[in-house]
Symmetry: C2
Subunit: 348 residues, 2 copies
């Protein structure tokens, strides 16, 4: 690799994912020439220290991307829809962490462990999948390659950090109120923009994002559609039930997967253990399995509770856990940025 | 019904389920002549007020059941195994809330909404199913009758009260410690009798009860075996993933169910709404679905998130919630006691 450095913009720099992106760019020694931090006008003016330098967050506008090589977006779908095309016009490659372009047929939807080759197919924008999708496809891709997958039924146990820092604050505040015997007044979850609010502390809410006409939530349909797109197989049946639970960081998933070929459980375990980005934690005898509290802060996807299905001979069940802000968002985006940077450096 | 009254014993009177049983016997005006409260030697001597009368809890021994008509057991499987046969010998009918006799072919396993006719087949002991099984079969029985069921895949979101009052205390204590930034030392969950403990506050633990050789936990295999026994159909494929989450009261379940016949979703909704003990809460437009916090303290099984599966045309997905201490334990047991009392009164 040459010593090429890049002008990088982070849109949504003050948010939960933006914070993780900055931490990873630093930790991974990403080759940055100039770093521009962007946000809504509400957070503009915030000062963030990066590698010893104080950087003032600026309001993101269509002209903010002048001279930017790589722009990482995580400020909500509307912001990406408005500004990413301007960033592209000005020559940047956008890595978008929102839902804005994921299902656009001209936008690759990339998990580097699954479909890195699609990065090259971009037209200026590469979409980062939804957090709950990323960890599932990362764990299932080795099975797809080895056996083929015919069907996935997933139930999720999703952390409040997936709904942003205000949702974390709400959950912690409600927990304290319940412990003190006070009344609570939900005001953010399950969906900030919808009228009805439910208690998240000491509860399980079977709604993440708005409902669609088919009775599924948008979060559930993201898992369905994105999985098929990333795995490049529209014939896989996917059904999802997405549930928010009182966990701060780390989504857990109970996944039933039906394969096309017979398998030995030990082979599946070995295959996953050898796969990049996957850590197998699966030893019932020592009560070892993935836990959200253990996964928090780590980049890996953790897999355990591997066991044969009791009815269908070609199916197995598994428990997949990962930090939704890291592999589920920031780390996946930074991985994509690293691949782009490496290719550009190699060509320069 | 005549005015016959019964001598009733409650074994495990000081436990989480025992407390609910006493509350329900009172509330339901159960025809009690004499009430005997029994426990381990540790809790003997505790005084409990029932219908204005202070009753001293006595240590349960083989001779405690002299003159008892109906004995309700919820003091753990070992206590039931030891003492229920003595209660039967002394002429009592035992309603056992533990795992001790559930899979015994000579012991009926009863959910009154599902298989009340089996109460008559008892040989002195009637088993109350596991909490997570009860609410699921109560919701699925109407579908079995109308369409037939070929397959069930369930992932649970289970409350800590299922592990007893000490587990509730631990979860609340851990939550407080985490909120205050203190270190926590798990000492009960996931399984009191096993060596490894995990944090339950702000976490999801995919282990309830010990692991079996097939990689499933005993809790998961209870759901599998009990469902087949209660529904009297060994051909139903059942797979379960049982998970403890930081909820105090109320188990939630994400259930995929494959039927034998075609169905209209509206017919399923109507059928469930008309079924005894079931309350349908299912209106996405108003963000209405069952929640553990709403189900807590109520006897019903709540069903919502009803939707067609996206892959299998004869399958649907649903969200089933009920208070694990009430319908999942105490209320189911008291319902059985009421049926026995009514039959005896009718015959007397």
């Amino acid at each position: 690799m040459s010593n090429q450095k890049f002008n990088v913009a982070v849109v949504g720099a003050t948010g939960a994912v933006g914070e993780q992106i900055l931490g990873l760019l630093d930790k991974r020694e990403f080759p940055i020439f100039n770093l521009k931090l962007l946000s809504s006008i509400r957070s503009a003016g915030t000062i963030i220290n990066f590698r010893g330098q104080d950087i003032t967050v600026e309001e993101a506008t269509p002209e903010s991307f002048e001279g930017i090589d790589i722009a990482l977006f995580s400020a909500g779908g509307d912001v990406s829809k408005e500004l990413a095309p301007h960033a592209v016009r000005l020559g940047a490659v956008c890595i978008d962490n929102t839902n804005a372009f994921r299902m656009d047929p001209n936008t690759p939807l990339v998990v580097p462990e699954v479909n890195p080759e699609q990065i090259d197919e971009h037209n200026g924008i590469i979409a980062n999948p939804n957090c709950s999708t990323i960890q599932m496809v990362a764990a299932l891709k080795p099975l797809q390659d080895a056996y083929g997958i015919s069907r996935i039924i997933v139930s999720t146990y999703q952390a409040v950090s997936g709904a942003g820092t205000r949702a974390i604050d709400e959950m912690l505040r409600q927990s304290k109120e319940v412990l003190e015997g006070n009344e609570i007044k939900p005001d953010i979850l399950p969906v900030g923009s919808l009228p009805v609010k439910h208690q998240i502390a000491f509860n399980a809410i079977p709604q993440i994002d708005k409902f669609l006409d088919n009775g599924y939530t948008l979060e559930e349909m993201k898992m369905v559609r994105e999985t098929k797109k990333i795995m490049r197989d529209e014939s896989i049946d996917v059904t999802a039930t997405c549930v928010r639970i009182p966990v701060i960081y780390g989504h857990s998933e109970s996944v039933y997967v039906e394969l096309k070929k017979d398998f030995e459980l030990e082979d599946v375990r070995d295959l996953l253990a050898e796969s990049p980005g996957i850590t197998v934690m699966d030893d019932p005898a020592s009560q070892t399995y993935p836990l959200a509290t253990d996964a928090a802060g780590k980049p890996d996807v953790f897999v355990g509770r591997l066991r044969r299905d009791l009815g269908e001979s070609k199916a197995l069940n598994m428990w997949i856990v990962s930090d939704n802000l890291i592999k589920g968002a920031a780390w996946n985006a930074v991985q994509i940025a690293e691949i782009i940077a490496a290719k550009r450096s190699a060509c320069s």
